[in-house]
């Protein structure tokens, strides 16, 4: 039931992003879609990721989109009826449906002895479970009572442990990546030479 409602919100938000004329409405639909994904994260025991999904995606990233939309002028709407390239829409539809068909074929036709892809998954999970269960419960047994109650260890504790032991190099690389992105953003939007600056007279909107 939760899955059906969340899936409806996600897909409705996605359709809204694609078919809304106004970029602000598209951004709001995007928030709805992100919230639906966060609900599904909670259902699948990924509590920390659900939190981060709401704070970073629905909070920071969509607010950044809205900042840029407002910065560039909120009344710039795209004429969605105009089709600049002939046959672009039908070709895109065919391409997307073909992609969906390929993914479904890969999902349902793969795996040992299954028309259902889940058979391959559950066959593999038996090997994975004991190793992780021993690993995590030995490391974090002291912090278990701070969890959500339905698992013996907190999701955040497990994730942080995994991030700072097995993936510590990638973790530090992401710090470097964020620094580079910040520097890049500053360099890209910097105004060299004041004559390039578009002077926004009061009363005239940027068309």
């Amino acid at each position: 039931m939760v899955f059906v409602v969340a899936a409806a919100i996600i897909l409705g938000g996605a359709v809204g992003v694609i078919f809304k004329n106004n970029p602000v409405h598209a951004a709001l639909s995007l928030i709805a879609s992100f919230f639906g994904v966060a609900v599904l994260f909670v259902v699948q025991q990924a509590h920390f990721l659900a939190l981060v999904q709401v704070v970073v995606y629905a909070g920071a990233i969509v607010v950044l989109f809205l900042f840029v939309i407002m910065l560039l002028g909120v009344d710039r709407t795209e004429n969605i009826k105009a089709e600049p390239l002939t046959y672009q829409r039908p070709a895109a539809l065919v391409g997307a449906l073909a992609l969906f068909g390929f993914i479904l074929a890969g999902l349902f036709l793969s795996g040992p002895g299954g028309e259902d892809g889940a058979v391959a998954l559950t066959g593999q999970s038996a090997a994975m479970v004991p190793r992780l269960a021993d690993d995590v419960s030995a490391e974090t047994s002291g912090a278990g009572n701070t969890g959500t109650g339905n698992t013996d260890t907190s999701n955040i504790v497990e994730l942080g442990h995994d991030l700072l032991t097995r993936n510590v190099l990638a973790f530090q690389a992401t710090a470097l990546l964020l620094t580079i992105a910040t520097v890049g953003a500053v360099v890209l939007v910097r105004n060299e030479g004041a004559e390039d600056l578009v002077v926004d007279e009061p009363g005239t909107s940027i068309e």
Binding site: L11, A14, I18, A96, T122, S125, D162, T174, L178, L188
Partner: protein, 101 residues
């Protein structure tokens, strides 16, 4: 009917293809970025579904990294959009060819 991880995978395939369709159809670079975020979210949903099904935390770690990369990509991409649209306010996605040279 019980919700298995196959449902999640089908849902994220649908979301991915919707995002791809929007990316191919829309001309506004901002909305194209939003469709890109939809595709990244579909992949995140897949990662979490596999993480839950296999009881392996590596999937959730991958989602964390996807999130960081998505944030960096949005920052750089939007600043390119701002830099272009400030000089040429009626630009669409085709005008990014002006970036070369």
């Amino acid at each position: 009917m019980e919700v298995t991880e196959t449902w999640y995978l089908v849902l994220s395939a649908l979301l991915f293809c919707l995002g791809a369709f929007g990316l191919m159809v829309r001309r506004n670079p901002l909305v194209m970025f939003m469709c890109l975020e939809l595709m990244l979210n579909a992949v995140n949903l897949t990662f979490v579904a596999f993480s839950n099904a296999l009881d392996d935390l590596a999937g959730q770690t991958a989602v964390f990294f996807v999130l960081v990369v998505a944030a960096a990509e949005v920052v750089v991409g939007l600043s390119i959009v701002v830099a272009l649209l400030r000089r040429r306010p009626t630009a669409s996605a085709d005008d990014f060819a002006a970036l070369k040279g």
